[in-house]
Amino acid sequence: MAEVSTTLATRRLTIAEALREAIAEEMRRDPCVFCIGEDIAIPGGWGGAFTVTLDLENEFPDRMLNTPIAELGFFGAAVGAAMMGMRPIADVQYGDFLFLAMDQIVNNAAKMRYMSGGTVKVPLVMRAPIGATGRGSQHAQSMERCFTGVPGLKVVAVSNAYDAKGLLKAAVRDDNPVLIFEHKLLYGSKGARAESQAVDATSDIPENEYVVPLDKAALRRSGSHVTILGWLLMSHYAMSAAESLAAEGIEAEVIDVRSLSPIDYNTIGTSVEKTGRVVIVEEGPRTGGVSAELAAGITERFGEYLLAPVSRVASADVPVPFSPPLEDAYRPTSQRIIAAVQKLLSR
């Protein structure tokens, strides 16, 4: 793929480390870049809820703004600063708190450019950790769907450290509001035993600079029988399903959708034309998800290539439950992906 670097020198980083490195590099490069959020800049402290900004206060004491618990306020302030030429990176501790900042994101950040007849710029990056991890209904939602249908916003989702770094850097340099979704089970290096079902999302990060474009899906595995689309944790589960399916002689092509708005229908279309069968995997309720948009978009554009209706694997239409067996039943699994593929191929 185009974004691949050819240098040999690499380091193995986690998503949290890769994001941290990307933020530091962008802050070094451009004095207008700053971070704003809760518990992000207490010396020797947390580095935000998931360590992403850890230690950055050492190098950038004046550009790490520790805020009160006031999401509407500081997201709005970030939009304001962006209009006046700064390039803020605003984060929420859990994606669920984006709803508190919704008005500033949706009514202001996303619409300024259009309402001003193309004169105002809002170069704003927003970061939000999502996914169900044993914390109950209000610290667990997957709410990409609430933002992908907002014209004027770009939405990406990072599933490994390489993308995390490259997409964050691209987002900082973009002149539009970009919302980056990150998954709580993917931040660290070895979550598998710490949090049930965590996977390894570390990558070898090149020493030299790179960005990952904001509008490109990533082909993770080639196959000819079926296309599996996923993002965040689900792209990993899709990979593991594909490995199991290969043992049965079913070759699945796996695409990490990655860019949730705009959607890269070129990459997806090429695959659909080849396989004619699509399974979309989404953590989050089945109804009204990004997968619904993908299914409709694929059907409109590539309907004549489809050998079977597009199939979805998603969560039940319920809030995220707390109890471990309920949460396990809520979150799609590799088994359910495998079953969906088998069913689709048996049609």
Partner: protein, 486 residues
């Protein structure tokens, strides 16, 4: 009996943990609560307490070894077997064991590295991940503590005792009841802490050790049919409002018979029939709700009130301003209880407000506001009683700021390295349970044995509750889709 000590899940990003040093030597004796070893997590160095009393038989890992949560790291020969605890430690691996899990055992995906860089090797050990920054980080934390010490320096003259005159107004059985309720909260939270450290609690927990007097003092001034709203730090509020240790523990274990059928969890405990809606884990989220609940009482001409608990951090949210504005203009029977424990997560209150007294917010809404010493359960009770009277007679709402302190990290994964030592000490000296206990022994006809008996009985009840909760049936997959609509 020998018990295997496992590494607790103290990392926020699911990473490895490094055992930095042992604080108890092999052969040394250990009390419950003694610091057993120091660990480096993905963001800080923290002390890990022993959940067991006995003799340290073996250290299974060397200093600087990197381990994962759940790995066995030591063996303790326990002297004093706490039945429930022993059962937990001896026989049961982490929660997975009694889950009817639908998940595949290994979701680990290798070679998923997308960028098709040279074939990616499995992640190498990351021992001492932060070694290079460890010293700097420790130094930074010291800076933060000393800044917080200065922030604490604008002294509030808080009494270090409850006086005879205060006690004289109450009959001893009432005072003992308040004491018992506070001890119930303390022992519940301490017990849960050790269960978490043993790896037997799913999820994360936010605890309230040190803040027992706010929950108990407020709820003691309420009737059974009054309501409360609470937060992610809600176990104490729930116990004070009359929920049982059983129903809360069952909920923490995700049991089908928990107070929210396992659907809520630690951050959402509640029981409508006992006057507590599920706790709200969104900071400030309960404040407008409380206004609405009080509005309903007023419209229906019911003489109930609602007490709305929230932290100092919540006063920065728009919901606080909007909720109080509504309650004020409609004279609603709502008591807004701000538990000012001086920190919102890792951020000290003075860093996020210019006010000294958060009760001064009341002025902007034209309502009554009072700042009260929140570790004095009688002061809290009295202030709440007055507020309740005011609300029931149609002259609400009231904002109460209760000054208190959390004797524990924000959540169990917080090393809490930002609280200044002098500040901690000043508050520990004013521990709410100690304050009332000392006053009772000094001024009333109560002796230390009696207080110990209260505690022992609660501990025994807790252990029974743990055993029940651990073996209680979990919800089944069919329960996933129930309870969405009325």
């Amino acid at each position: 009996m020998e018990i295997e000590v496992k590494m607790p899940d103290l990392s926020t990003t699911g990473g490895e943990l490094t055992v930095l040093k042992w604080l108890i030597a092999v052969g040394g004796s250990v009390k419950r609560g003694d610091v057993l070893f120091e660990v480096e997590t993905d963001k800080a160095t923290m002390d890990v307490e022993s959940a067991h009393a006995g003799v340290l038989k073996k250290q299974l890992v060397e200093p600087n070894a990197t381990v994962l949560p759940g790995d066995a790291i030591a063996i303790i020969e326990v002297s004093q077997v706490r039945p429930a605890m022993a059962a937990v430690a001896a026989s049961v691996p982490p929660v997975e064991a009694n889950r009817q899990t639908t998940s595949q055992p290994s979701e680990s995906v290798s070679g998923v590295n997308p960028n098709t860089l040279a074939a990616s090797s499995p992640a190498p050990p990351r021992a001492g991940m932060f070694a290079e920054n460890r010293a700097k980080r420790a130094e930074n934390a010291t800076t933060t503590r000393s800044q917080n010490e200065q922030r604490a320096a604008a002294p509030r003259m808080l009494p270090a005792e409850i006086s005879h005159d205060q006690l004289a107004a109450y009959n001893p059985s009432f005072l003992l009841e308040l004491y018992t309720r506070m001890v119930r909260i303390r022992e519940f939270e301490e017990g849960v802490k050790y269960l978490f450290l043993q790896g037997s609690m799913p999820g994360t927990i936010h605890q309230c050790q040190g803040q027992e007097a706010t929950a108990v003092g407020v709820c003691a001034a309420l009737r059974d049919d009054d309501f409360i709203t609470s937060t992610f730090r809600g176990h104490g509020h729930a116990l004070a409002k009359g929920l049982s240790m059983d129903e809360i523990l069952l909920e923490l274990y995700g049991a089908a018979s928990g107070c929210c059928k396992g659907k809520g969890g630690s951050m959402h405990v509640g029981n409508y029939d006992k006057g507590m809606i599920p706790a709200i884990a969104i900071v400030g989220g309960g404040i407008p709700l409380a206004a609405g609940m009080a509005l309903a009482f007023k419209m229906q001409k019911r003489d109930q009130v609602v007490a709305c608990f929230f932290g100092d951090g919540a006063t920065s949210e728009g919901a606080f301003h909007e909720g109080l504005t509504l309650a004020a203009i409609w004279d609603l029977p709502a008591i807004f209880v701000c538990e000012n424990n001086l920190y919102g997560a890792s951020t000290r209150v003075n860093q996020v407000t210019r006010l000294n007294d958060l009760a001064d917010h009341a002025n902007s809404y034209g309502i009554t506001g009072r700042t009260v010493f929140g570790n004095d359960v009688l002061a809290v009770y009295e202030a709440t009683k007055n507020a309740v009277d005011q609300c029931r007679s149609g002259r609400g709402p009231v904002l109460l700021e209760l000054l208190t302190y959390r004797r524990t990290g924000h959540s169990r994964r917080d090393a809490c390295n930002y609280q200044a030592d002098v500040e901690k000490q000043a508050w520990f000296d004013r521990d709410p349970i100690r304050l009332l206990g000392d006053a009772l022994t000094k001024h009333c006809d109560v002796d230390a044995t009696q207080l110990k008996e209260i505690r022992d009985e609660i501990v025994a009840q807790f252990e029974v509750a743990v055993e029940r909760a651990r073996s209680a049936p979990l919800p089944s997959e069919d329960d996933l889709i129930t309870d969405v609509f009325a």
